[in-house]
Symmetry: C2
Subunit: 328 residues, 2 copies
Amino acid sequence: MKIRIGIMGYGNLGRGVEYALAQNPDMELTGIFTRRDPQSIKPVTPGAKVYAAQDAEDMEADIDVMILCGGSATDLPTQTAQYAKLFNVVDSFDTHANIGAHYAQVNEAAKEAGRVGIISVGWDPGMFSLNRLYAEAILPDGADYTFWGRGVSQGHSDAIRRIKGVVDARQYTVPVADAVEAVLRGEHPELSTRQKHTRECYVVAEEGADLARIENEIKTMPNYFADYDTTVHFISLEELKRDHAGIPHGGRVIRTGKTGENGEHGHVISYELKLDSNPEFTAGVLVAFARAAYRMSLRGESGCRTAFDIAPALLSPREPAWLREHLL
Amino acid sequence: MKIRIGIMGYGNLGRGVEYALAQNPDMELTGIFTRRDPQSIKPVTPGAKVYAAQDAEDMEADIDVMILCGGSATDLPTQTAQYAKLFNVVDSFDTHANIGAHYAQVNEAAKEAGRVGIISVGWDPGMFSLNRLYAEAILPDGADYTFWGRGVSQGHSDAIRRIKGVVDARQYTVPVADAVEAVLRGEHPELSTRQKHTRECYVVAEEGADLARIENEIKTMPNYFADYDTTVHFISLEELKRDHAGIPHGGRVIRTGKTGENGEHGHVISYELKLDSNPEFTAGVLVAFARAAYRMSLRGESGCRTAFDIAPALLSPREPAWLREHLL
């Protein structure tokens, strides 16, 4: 019997989950749930059913795991706990400052309902988090560094779009190569925000807009750009659509540490991702953890979990003996 | 109360575990066990006790986890199951073809005794295995590649030392840079053994030995060298001691995969290690998994486990809420 999956929310991430399910033959797509008019949604999967979001409440018996594909700003803070009362759930909640509160809320709902809720899986938080944990446990005398990019930051692109006179924009976060190299050489540098990343902005302005003012507003924007070396390129809408349509991302987690009688031996652990599509990769992680949620639920577990709490073998469709023979 | 650790075997790996324990304040070294004369052992830790190996049999109540630091060829195939009858145990068994049999044997002994036995933890098998599993689960439509080095292969160095006329030798396994780059570019190349690694040999010969014969015997040695591009450098014993005293190693696990409606998006996951000391890094992994063995045993678990079966949080001395706040 296949694991029956629901997709709640059908933006880039939801569609990524739909693609990922097609690569995982032990799973099947039971339905896509949307707050838009279900008639307006065209799923990629032949014969896939689209439901109104509120229909999910009557489908408790039909879905093993609901994968929540909404945003961390407004959707997931309420949705994850809400649906954990009905289903095993998985989300990619990434508002770091609120993970503690989100965990507590989902844990209470999932425990009460006897469901498993896995939160904050994707690549950061998610795979990067796992690498930070493993590396610190192995090399306790050390330091870790996270670099993001080169990749599109949706939040920073949105911030530029809110400036008067801006039609559209795409912002790339770029790690400073010299800083990455210094860390990889084990130099253990102290790096300021400005020394770790630069920000590249591609901006389409309204005709006749004051470009100098727009550039200045971007570069001086607190939190988003003021602490970074930022470059602004004005381009046409055609160029934006032609050259910046993708949603690539990636980055690295590096830990350097010392061992030996007097710390005489240095070690470098580096985990790097280069992703053509941020949402599709995140979807791949969500689907693997959905498998784990289903299995943990079958064992009678309940409550909230993160990637830290889940034995790796639970993510794989393979048998344990196969994993030991082929991947160990 | 600290986790009480025993070290069985006091070579490079055992000493590495001793160093690692000094970096992990939740653990203490109960004793070092050796088949040599205990009086001949000089531990690094002030006041550390050294016992004859057979004394371990009377210390069931004194040790929470015995870390087995013997070799995979002759020690661990008998030791791990033997000591799993008395203690929770951890080993770095790495004879790949025999992992299935080793698992079965340790599982039976540990289950019967109500102990936890964790096998094959180190970096490969160990951290590389974990990265192969996670990456395949996330990107099922893809391929993985493992490159080792640049680093010293003990087995290949030993093979050279057995040649007539050789005084000492050090063999470095070196990944072919072009092959690594092609994989990282997502080209998904088919690579022969020769295309993935080269072998560099530094050899000290007896005075008057036939160097051409030694070089030929190395380069044509089946399994070890015949399938590789091998270079042989004859050096003096002084040069060997001065320039090749360390035991560095490392390598990479890379998985490349496709996602999207028609596999139009490529992704690269790369995990890389650069280690000044192979045994000290391996020791760091063993000690983190010893913590997990202790915790799993406290929960009443028993039997054999690999890195695949262990929730990552069990490796860390940190509280779960701290991990969520700082590393997630």
